[in-house]
């Protein structure tokens, strides 16, 4: 099905099932420990061996020798895979560094060997016996030091440099100006399930039970890396213990499990040890950002400029932190610049809202600072600079843009009128109390997605698509979509996901999964409805599907009967024309945060949080709300604690486990409120939905930062905002 013109009324608009806060259909499996994750499949996998990965102990250089003798003779060892004996390997298009390094080393903890043994304990012990000699060469590990030699680099969604009007003159002429720099650190996804795979060969066919957000990408990358036909690779990933972008791509666990299984002739299980994940896999790259805003005294922006510097391995991409600044606020004169430095740290890549999450951390502090210079309320400053059209191309409107309503609704609900605009002016016992606000913004992406739908003679509808559920609720919203389309209760829908033998979906990433994958299911259901109507001799345009029946005029036939003994099935997908070129599709929100800062110790506690989001039709308010509050939680982490600390001599992330890389815990997070504005977006798909999962993180950290400023009068422009950055500048409170 091609989607080229705005959606009109369709069966989804009945909203009998879609739009309801249904409990997750996979909930009883997840809460009873019966959902099977990558490392946990036992059926059909006999006598597996265990692989333990060895990583490079240097960041850049070369292996001059590996002594495997002691490890090979250790108890239980069956094989040791290295680049020397793995055969010729390709590299996936989406991997920057090789998944199996050697002799050249591209980054610290790049995988260099897999020890395979009968048990996990044997493999781990034998890995300790492998002796590696290296020659280390100099690398670049310090973004600030490499900033001045960074090169222009295009970033997804735009060229390295953008310009509209004359930024330099307009900024120079502006009566009120801001020119400030901000930094965001390297961050880790730190999803709870480490990357894990089980590989089994049957002749020349490979099956990988793995933890991957993008099944079809994964098949292609595995095939390319192993130089085998795609048809010979099957990926199975029904449950994924969190991804946030870290599982968009095939990682070393999958490749090494496949190689280990080939070397031993047995199924091989590989999970990356937690302390290995942080340097072996990908992370969100650090940024340095400079933002300049010029405005008239009435607050109207005349010039806005955003420059970003980030680093990555040779061939890697920049973070993309300027993206939202091209679209979020009005202003006739604009510029952005993206610069990329070569660094020899581990691979930087997508993490939840790549680009915008980092960009909004800086931009939304800058907007707060500018409002203060203008003597304006930061909400009013945002509202007078709202735009209903793409500021670079005024002939191109937003499909929906309700930023102002998000800000106003949130202000009222949060009690913004009680905020004291004078920083440091509110005390509650030992706490300095402040409120902060930030806009939320993230683009909505359209990408094709297919599904197969089958109706059996019990009236059960089975949906199969290679879509993944990484905690987003895909199982449930797909069941709701099929139930709505076929006129059956959710209990009559079976959803099967995450298997490369199913039709190719959008997969999960970039907050595109919800809208696109359900639109694909919609398309398949339309086709199934047509074939049912045709079989019954009904006019498919008039046939009504409701209450487990199909009706037309006076005739009504139960679906089970319509299916007949053989059942009926249909396969189709959604594909898009250029509707997203004609209309800018984005999602909007507003984040409100109240913090308390201990007047003596500068300890920061988040006291209240509220998000208001406008993101098209909300297919399931319960699971969508969870996406947003989860993103708010990750935003608190970004604001207050998350930082991969770089060892600039040895070139690696020092705090590479969950004790050193701090993420929010229960005690850090108060009750969270969130509101969805009632919205449908007919430009997005027949579902009229958009993404929410990444919108939820964009702006949160800045709202926290702005609240800390309001509480203390201390402006911190270098994340995370830790108490050492506040302590010496706290107001003298006697």
């Amino acid at each position: 099905m091609r989607f080229e013109t705005p959606a009109t009324i369709n069966p989804i608009d009945q909203l009998k099932v879609v739009g309801k806060p249904a409990d997750r259909i996979d909930g009883p499996l997840k809460t009873t420990g019966t959902a099977r994750y990558a490392y946990e499949h036992h059926e059909g996998i006999s006598n597996p061996a265990y692989g333990y990965v060895i990583g490079s102990a240097i960041a850049k250089g070369r292996i001059t020798g590996i002594d495997l003798a002691a490890a090979k003779s250790a108890p239980g060892v069956r094989a040791i895979v290295t680049a020397d004996n793995a055969g010729k390997l390709g590299k996936g298009d989406r991997n920057t560094a090789k998944l199996l390094g050697g002799p050249d080393i591209e980054h610290y903890h790049q995988a260099i060997a897999l020890v395979v043994a009968d048990t996990f304990e044997q493999a781990r012990a034998a890995a300790e016996l492998v002796r590696v000699d290296y020659v280390r060469t100099d690398g670049a590990f310090d973004l600030a030091a490499a900033k001045d030699i960074a090169k222009p680099q295009a970033v997804f969604g735009g060229p390295a440099d953008t310009a509209v009007g004359d930024f330099a003159d307009a900024f120079a002429a502006a009566p009120v100006q801001l020119d400030a720099s901000y930094t965001t650190p390297d961050q880790a996804h730190a999803m709870m399930e480490p990357h894990a795979s089980i590989a089994a060969w049957n002749g020349d066919k490979l099956t990988l039970w793995t933890s991957n957000q993008m099944i079809a990408w994964g098949v292609g990358e595995v095939a390319k890396t192993l130089d085998i036909p795609k048809e010979n690779v099957r990926l199975i990933s029904p449950f994924i213990g969190g991804g946030f972008g870290s599982k968009l791509f095939v990682r070393s666990d999958a490749l090494l499990a496949a190689l280990g299984a080939r070397a031993t002739g047995r199924p091989v299980k590989v999970a990356l040890p937690r302390p290995f994940v942080f340097n072996n896999t990908t992370h969100r790259p650090a940024t340095i950002q400079r933002i300049r805003i010029g405005a008239a005294r009435d607050g109207k922006i005349s010039a806005i400029g955003h420059e970003e510097w980030s680093g990555n391995l040779p061939g890697g991409r920049p973070e993309g932190a300027v993206a939202q600044t091209r679209l979020l606020y009005a202003g006739a004169n604009r510029m952005t610049a993206t610069r990329l430095a070569e660094l020899n740290l581990p691979e930087g890549n997508a993490m939840r809202a790549p680009g915008e999450a980092s960009g909004m951390m800086a931009l939304e502090i800058a907007v707060d600072e500018m409002a203060e210079r203008l003597g304006m309320d930061p909400i009013e400053f945002r509202i007078i600079n709202d735009t209903q059209v793409d500021p670079e191309k005024p002939e191109r409107p937003f499909s929906q843009r309700r930023l102002t309503e998000c800000l106003r609704t949130g202000a009222e609900r949060f009690g913004w009128n009680k905020r004291n605009p004078q920083p440091g002016g509110v005390r509650d016992g030992r706490w300095l109390v402040g409120m902060g606000v930030a806009a939320a913004f993230r683009n909505n992406l359209l990408t094709k997605s297919a599904a197969r739908v089958r109706l059996d003679n019990n009236g059960v509808v089975t949906v199969e698509t290679d879509m993944t559920d990484i905690g987003t609720g895909s199982y449930t919203i797909i069941a709701q979509t099929a139930a709505e389309m076929m006129g059956v209760p959710m209990e009559k829908v079976v959803v099967r996901l995450g298997d490369s033998t199913f039709p190719v979906s959008s997969g999960s990433g970039g907050q595109w999964g919800g809208n696109n994958s359900t639109a694909g299911v919609y398309a398949a259901c339309v086709k199934l409805r047509e074939s049912i109507a045709q079989k019954l001799g009904f006019n498919s345009a008039e046939a009504e599907f409701a209450d487990g029946e199909v009706r037309s005029g006076n005739r009504r036939v139960p679906l089970a009967q319509a299916a007949g003994d053989g059942g009926l099935s249909a396969e189709d997908g959604i594909e898009y024309g250029d509707i997203d070129k004609k209309y800018q599709q984005s999602t909007f929100g507003a984040h409100f945060v109240e913090v308390g800062v201990d007047a003596a110790t500068a300890e920061i506690r988040v006291r209240r949080m509220l998000a208001v989001c406008a993101a098209g039709r909300i297919l399931n308010p319960k699971t969508a709300r969870s996406q947003v509050i989860g993103a708010m939680t990750m935003g608190v982490g970004a604001a207050l604690m998350e930082e991969l600390v770089v060892d600039e001599r040895a070139g690696f992330f020092v705090n590479h486990d969950l004790a050193g890389y701090e993420v929010p815990v229960h005690a850090d997070i108060p009750h969270q409120d969130m509101i969805f504005l009632d919205e449908t977006d007919p430009m997005s798909s027949p579902m009229k939905a958009k993404g929410v999962a990444e919108l939820g993180i964009c702006g949160v950290a800045a709202a926290v930062a702005n609240a800390v400023y309001n509480a203390t009068g201390v402006r911190v422009r270098d994340y995370p905002i830790t108490l050492d950055k506040l302590l010496e500048r706290l107001p003298n409170v006697g």
Binding site: P28, Y37, E193, G241
Partner: protein, 216 residues
């Protein structure tokens, strides 16, 4: 087998400079180790140990490599994969099980240390068809997303309510002599050993509060 002094030499060489040919073991912890990694003696591990304990009411006997953690004995040997491995270091809580009525991180203890003990895992609390009230409350309040930390959260939550009932104070208990309260701050403090990266904390707190019979 290298001696600690060999190791120190290697480490100094590594840190001393670039382009020096250096030798070190491949153990990933070498460069950044705070404490020199003492290489585990390669003991004769052909010896297997027997252990018997009760899991979810069923007597189980295992013959194991003595280095097997309680966690891996459950997951790899008994195929009770509800208990999750998130960090294998006692940092995330995904492996929480209840042993003798107390919650522990099953990754931080060896299976053979639990001879004769009674172990409850998330599978022992309820089944999809017959969920424990805490499991049902997590479903109702969407107290999870990816589900990987969920069994640990649920085992912890069940044990936390028992700890409060038993009068065991926490870091945030104002009065160590008074019975601890079922307050939001008590629940959040006691649950803080169970990380949820999806960020379902607010919903988890509501699920636990409902089971405990107090408003969140």
């Amino acid at each position: 087998m290298k001696s600690p002094s060999d190791f120190e030499l290697s480490r100094r060489k590594l840190l001393a400079g670039s382009a020096a040919s250096i030798a070190l073991t491949a153990a990933p912890s070498i460069v950044n180790a705070q404490v020199p990694a003492v290489e585990a003696a390669v003991a004769d591990v052909s010896a297997e140990w027997k252990v018997s304990f009760t899991v979810n009411g069923t007597a189980r006997g295992l013959t194991l490599d003595p280095r097997t953690t309680l966690l891996d004995s459950l997951r790899e040997h008994l195929h009770l994969t509800g208990t999750k491995k998130g960090c294998d270091h006692g940092q995330c809580g995904a492996c929480t099980v209840i042993v003798g009525g107390r919650r522990i991180n099953s990754c931080m203890t060896l299976a053979v240390m639990h001879e004769g003990e009674r172990i409850t895992t998330v599978e022992g609390l309820g089944t999809p068809e017959n969920m424990h009230p805490m499991q049902a409350a997590f479903v109702k309040h969407d107290g999870y997303q990816c589900g990987y930390c969920t069994p640990g959260q649920i085992c912890s939550a069940v044990a936390v309510l028992d700890e409060i009932k038993a009068g065991i104070p926490s870091h945030v208990s104002a009065d160590l002599n008074a019975p601890p309260q079922l307050s939001n701050s008590e629940l959040r403090e006691r649950m803080s050993g169970n990380i949820c990266r999806c960020g379902a904390y607010s919903n988890i707190a509501e699920a636990i509060s409902e089971v405990a019979g107090r408003p969140a």
